[in-house]
Symmetry: C2
Subunit: 119 residues, 2 copies
Amino acid sequence: MARQLDPQCSAFQTAIDVLGRPWNALILGTLQAGPARFGELARKCHGVGAKILSARLKDLESRGLVHREVQIGPPIRVTYSLTSRGQAFEEVAHAIERWGRELTAPPRARRRGGRAGKP
Amino acid sequence: MARQLDPQCSAFQTAIDVLGRPWNALILGTLQAGPARFGELARKCHGVGAKILSARLKDLESRGLVHREVQIGPPIRVTYSLTSRGQAFEEVAHAIERWGRELTAPPRARRRGGRAGKP
């Protein structure tokens, strides 16, 4: 890539501060599919307890990544969706997924160093 | 983007398991510039203590992302570099940096929802 990466720059650090916290990437990735209510999100993010999920959603809301909408009932409905900054995570999520596939693939063709062609 | 994201897939989870641990993304990002000795890395990753840095490097080595090379001395030199899987993090790092720039920019033009053109 042409541009030199600067992992010490504040932009990189800010993004990593979001991704470094447990479950944030999973929640942002899950919400890419569209708005969801709390129970729905909890089902999709299996492994995350309700208390933790609630805390993570508050964190993402305070960072301007998630929008929380309350519809007065009865029953009261709370829907979570991504803000435009949250939606912009999609590119990162796809890059993470591609890299993850590389990490989970058996080490066959070496992409650099060796002169092997594409498998 | 065309492909549907699946944040529950094992590839995504594996990558997030690496990135979710403190300092890993910073260390991988810093090593993109080229191999470095321990002291050099510690200087570049300011904020990370030597003990933590050492533990993180061991973790990254065990995941096949970082290569540790010992040159018998005196003095003994230990150099860290990225494996091909570690190098492949570059695409993710650039995506993270771009997203981070969006997160740190003042909220002006709304990219979605509104019909505003590019700034």
